[in-house]
Amino acid sequence: MEKHRDGIESRKSTIALLGNPNVGKTSIFNALTGSRQVVANWPGVTVEKRAGVMKHHNHTVDVVDLPGTYTLGATSLDEKIARDFLVNEKPGVAMVIGDAVNLERSLYLLLQVLELRGDVVLAVNAVDEARKAGFEIDKNELSKQLGIPVVVTSAITGEGIEELKNTLVKSTKSSSHVHYLFSDEVEAHLRDLSERIRGNPSMAGFDERWLSIKLLERDHEVQKITGITLDYDFSVEIAETRYKYIKRILSTSVKGKEKIGWNFSEAIDHVMTHRFLGILIFLAVMYIIFQLTFTISGPLSIMIEELLGGLGRAFGGFIGLDWLRSLVVDGIIGGVGAVLVFVPNIFILFLALGILEETGYLPRAAFVIDRLMYAMKLSGRSFISMLLGFGCNVSSIMSTRSISEPKERIVTILVSPFISCSARLPVYVLIAGTFFGARAGVVIFFLYVLSIVITVLSALLINKLFFKGEPSTLIMELPRYRKPRLSSILLYTWNKGRHFLEKAGTIILGASVVIWFLSYFPSEGTGSFAAMIGKSLEPLFIPLGYTWEMITSLVFGIAAKEVIVSSLTTFFGNLSISGSSLGAIRTLITPEIALSFLVFVLLYVPCMPTLAVIKNETGSYKYVFFSVFYSLAVAYIVALIVRIVGGLI
């Protein structure tokens, strides 16, 4: 091993965390920063960025959690972000977190980091699990072989965290890094390339050897930066050399005999991925989650409604001005209340999802139903997101964060609004109940089936439209099962839930005020701007046969689909002659128009919070517009077909 000087300046005050996915990087990050952390997005993309501050013995250091990666190539978005951060931001310390049970693979990433820079610390995590499995890691030997500080930790038991903090804070500016030698032929190429690069003044900020290695691996980014593209490809050889070196290191630093026979995870997996039981268990888990969400959030939502009602009355009590009172009570509190009522639902859903993810079950679920999803050019992971859509489209779209394939992610996001969410159910119940009486159940069932059919067809269509119909790649790790930590789950739930509140909340607040304005002025109800809009749109809807009241409710429904119910009752309530406020419309609207209306409600424009989240998660308005127009088109066409066909029956 040689020591090699480089000229890279480092900013001392930042620590970057790297590591394979599932090694416990987040837990270590939490242990270092406590609650002093901020979750945002890396600029321009929708990958989560976690940054925080570590305070230890009068030192204050910034900590950045880079996305989990297996290598520092440029093949995936996560890798690009991690690598760009190291190269451009030049953090003072790069800490690689490895998995004591799978040290070989963790070291592969470590070597790539060492090729790039110095000031690296290795934390070998999950050392308690390694011990249980029969290994013992000699950290001093490891440290000697690698030439960098090595700490063994266990994020669960807390072992080694103190020492880790000490090491990080102590990290001296030794801007030397260690590297190992490749074969003679490769080394010769490296020498030549380094010469060429050294001569180029624009490459002064980079380490030539690292650039040369990357060129031999045909790394696209590096080829672009250096302007050099080679004919030969040594990536396979380079990879093999690294692994050979790793094996040598491990042979002296890791002792102990591996247990034969199953470990805990394998035992669980035998049933979880069982030929028959696998899917059954998955369905059971989904059922339990859904039931719990609806059952528990029920009373909690009622509590919130009462609180808001009380608040409304309180405010209403001492505001004299009619319009101001209406604005505050109906517009603001009413509108925002529509979102807040959702909150228990969303939080519990994310709590459940968090538990599934923390324990490690999610990849198994995706594995078990993958085959079915493949037909839709998606993967098992999307299925879970889509299932969440039956509760609320917003949560389903937000949960697509963990889908690693960008194409698949976008298709899943764009298709989610067609999944019949719980907000549409009140509309179904009301209309179906009024028009179809005893058959209402059948009608609602039909709507759900239609929802699934359109979702599947849209997935295929959108994939073809945007991505030329290529299926996504599946390379998914099944990590060990682990006992979920309450603090991690709560933190996860809080982050996701808060995100929802911020995004949906602000948009809905704005939309509520606007809608309130439109329906209050110039005169409430049938004389309002909203009614005018409805009446002016009526000609467009003649083929469908909707009245202006229905159209206006649809317009309001864009804020949140439950609003359709209250709008309808408001409008038609004024016309009621007999008991039921909707009895009157039976004369205006025939059953097939009612059915077509239901279909329209199911398929048309996603509600405001959903649109907001689509913009957020895809990062562009292009998809938002597509979503709006596509869904309107689909809704109109299908509703029309239903009306025509229904008229014939």
Binding site: W262, A267, F276, L277, A284, G298
Partner: protein, 131 residues
């Protein structure tokens, strides 16, 4: 480990939860009629039964069925407790008690907690024996 005692526990779990499933399906004893829950309980029961279907010599596979089955039963109990809690809470809000004995589904709760002890037993067996 003796193959026969695992068979006993698997049989016990399977039959017990099959009975609970039928109980929920028909709403027989201290339970409401809930066909969907019955299916879920039935799935739990089948975890145990599939364990018996494994070859007798494959001890580790049988233990894994016991492990997962008992954990699932435990989860079902917790689920039921949470459901009861929310019904109680709802009743509190509308100022009337919505709880009935049937809603409690005591048979499920008790069975689930009782059989959950097997989880620790199975886990210890797996971790200390090299099957």
């Amino acid at each position: 480990m003796r193959g026969r005692s695992i068979t006993f526990w698997l049989m016990l779990g399977g039959v017990l939860f099959a009975a609970l499933a039928l109980n929920s399906f028909y709403g027989l004893l201290l339970t409401n009629h809930d066909p969907f829950l019955a299916i879920i309980i039935g799935i739990n029961s089948s975890i145990y039964f599939f364990g018996i279907a494994e070859k007798k010599s494959d001890v580790r596979k049988r233990y894994s069925h016991l492990l997962v089955g008992s954990f699932f039963s435990y989860v079902l109990s917790i689920y039921q407790v949470l459901v009861v809690f929310s019904v109680w809470l709802e009743g509190l809000l509308i100022s009337s008690c919505l709880l009935t004995v049937e809603i409690l589904n005591l048979p499920l709760i008790v069975s689930g907690f009782a059989i959950s002890f097997l989880f620790d037993f199975a886990r210890k067996q797996i971790e200390t024996n090299n099957f």
